[in-house]
């Protein structure tokens, strides 16, 4: 498993990327892009050799792994092994690119679809799948991974990230927090309040919005008017729009944003334009509300394909490499499948297990009653 994020990239110079943002006119020509859908590099022509091939291959590998996890989990749900699965397909560049920009001491707050980020933070996909199997509401140790539990109440963790970042600044840690949320989430008051708290406290937090064009059945036009990235300026901090299917651009922008935050400049907002290629969750049927043509359009911008093309055409990777990654993905899928199928149900008393940290008479009483009640059946069975 690749756990990157601790070394710095050999990407285009940060300051140059940042100045590219700040010199942008009111109406920018479009999202920041470094790699076109066709797999050719754009911008920063003097930045050759561009990204280190090692890093490029790491991006590619992790994107393939993320898709592999996603495909497998979707299949497991269809087979009744999971209660639900929210697929990330299409958002691999946004997640892998941004997660690679994180350092080990940065802390990430995911929403519920950040399986790719989880992977990069070293969370075992089986633990993510465990959650959607209904075995636990958590799944991993957030402190160990510096990756918080998934948050299902849309937008509420933007405030947790902000508070966490306020704490980072208080203790002068030099680290940053990042909050992942969707386009729909930007309508929730909590996200706006997070912007306010972050701005007023100069909190080192990056708000990373994956604008995947849809909030379940509602297109982004039902959530807001005007370019989303401009929201940040209204709260007094910078915001940029990046091609969310371009892992290079996402990575560069996120690295710059994190550096901005870590060095005491306060929050930063990133709108990564991307697309949810699958259903909202396995319970959803997107054919009810969106056109097939739209999906086709975005398929042409697949985030994995363009890296592969670039790697191949630039001679940064061999067929063997691609084969190895494919095999690794298949093996991972197999392991997930095996482990999920044999995953035991939680112990019944887990219900009472962690309601409080300190002792609690009511929980104790109910636990005892529950045990006695269960025991009464055991008696009956014995009889």
């Amino acid at each position: 498993m690749t756990v990157p994020g601790t070394e710095r990239s050999h990407a285009p110079d940060l300051s140059r990327v940042l100045s590219a943002f700040s010199s942008r006119a009111e109406e920018p020509p479009g999202p920041i892009q470094l790699l076109t859908p066709e797999g050719t590099l754009v911008h920063h022509p003097d930045d050759t050799p561009g990204y280190d091939p090692l890093r490029l291959r790491a991006f590619y590998r992790d994107m393939v792994m993320a898709r592999s996890i996603d495909t497998e989990a979707t299949a497991l749900q269809r087979q009744g092994e999971l209660g639900l699965w929210p697929p990330l397909a299409g958002q691999e560049a946004a997640q892998i690119g941004s997660a690679h920009a994180l350092r080990a001491d940065d802390y990430a707050f995911p929403s519920y679809r950040e399986h790719g980020v989880a992977w990069c933070r070293g969370v075992d996909p089986v633990d993510v799948v465990r959650l959607y199997r209904g075995v636990t509401n958590g799944g991993w140790d957030p402190r160990e991974k510096n990756f918080h539990l998934y948050t299902l109440v849309v937008g509420s963790h933007a405030l947790h990230a902000t508070g966490y970042a306020m704490g980072l600044a208080k203790r002068g840690s030099g680290a940053a927090a990042i909050a992942y949320f969707g386009d729909g989430a930007t309508s929730e008051g909590d996200v706006a309040e997070a912007f306010t708290f972050a701005a007023v406290h100069d909190a080192p937090v990056v708000f990373f919005c994956q604008n995947n064009q849809w909030a379940i059945s509602e297109p982004v036009e039902r959530q807001l008017r005007g370019p989303l990235y401009r929201r940040a300026a209204g709260f007094g901090f910078p915001g940029v729009q990046v091609d969310g299917n371009d892992v290079l651009a996402v990575h560069a922008v996120t690295e710059a944003a994190l550096e901005h935050a870590r060095t005491g400049n306060g929050p930063f907002f990133i709108e990564a334009s991307t697309y949810r290629m699958g259903a909202h969750t396995t319970s959803d049927d997107p054919t009810r509300y969106r056109r097939a043509a739209e999906l086709d359009e975005w398929r042409a911008k697949d985030p994995i394909d363009r890296v592969r093309t670039h790697l191949a055409e630039a001679g940064h990777a061999t067929q063997e490499f691609f084969d190895d990654v494919a095999t690794e993905g298949a093996e991972l899928a197999l392991r997930i499948r095996r482990q999920v199928r044999t995953m035991p149900d939680p112990d019944r008393t887990e219900v009472f297990g962690h309601v409080y940290a300190d002792g609690h008479p009511l929980v104790d009483e109910e636990r005892a009653q529950f045990a006695a009640y269960q025991a009464s059946f055991a008696d009956q069975e014995v009889k």
Partner: protein, 326 residues
Amino acid sequence: MSTESMTLARALNQSLRKALEDDPQVLVMGEDVGRLGGVFRVTEGLQKDFSEERVMDSPLAESGIVGTAIGLALNGYRPVVEIQFDGFVFPAYDQIVTQLAKVHARSRGMLTMPVVIRIPYGGGIGAVEHHSDSPEALFAHVAGLRVVSPSNAADAYWMLQQAIRSDDPVIFFEPKRRYWDTAEVDRAVPPVDLHRADVVRRGTDVTLVAYGPMVKVCLEAAEAAAEEGRSLEVIDLRSVSPVDFDTVQASVERTRRLVVVHEAPVFFGAGAEIAARITTRCFYHLEAPVLRVGGYHAPYPPARLEEEYLPGLDRVLDAVDRSLGY
């Protein structure tokens, strides 16, 4: 011929359709209620037939949904709001508790708030966190709100009609795991009062009181008990605020024993209020304390544990046994 067999979800759909037809001031609003027809398809087809002006996909912001519904009601509309799941009503709690519930009182009756807030609630469908809660007590404590929950398709149809016609705000809890249960709905039968309890099974030994999803469980328990020669009376409360204590009292005066069943945690739940009040009203009749069967004092557990957590037939019968043991 007005009687038709339909699921509870479809009964709600038909009821909304009827309300939209009958009164041009009725609006339907919420997340994904438009083209998708809601995640449970309760609003299916309504936007197509009644326009985007009357069936509105709202931005993803529950406080905003209820807050704008209040504004629309001030402007003469009768909004029917859908909250997507029980666990997502809390961002709107402030608007509901400090605003919606109080407009009529603050204006000394000059303004009314004919707003219905539909909330699919409760567990039993194997859902993820925040998708299985039963927060009705948190609304029943608040004066100015009405809180109801149908248990079957016929009540779903009629109670929603009545809720929409009420000039007070109604929190309308829909038992999501009963959405696909079918019953006969007679669309011509004049409704009984929204807040009346219904004795859905006669019995003599113990009274069971439930509402929403637990009515079915209690009926099954009564059936099972009958096989052992015990006669349980089952009351479908239908309304959690106000509570029809008269109907419960009349029953308990006969059976002398009462068990209240709900999915919500017992502690500070509806069962407490019913126990307290019925004990006062029937003090000399009760042979046993009012017993309560409900959720534990714990967050709703992950899906693989919900069967242990949710009150089922066995736990109801266990309480009946305990009641009869006094």
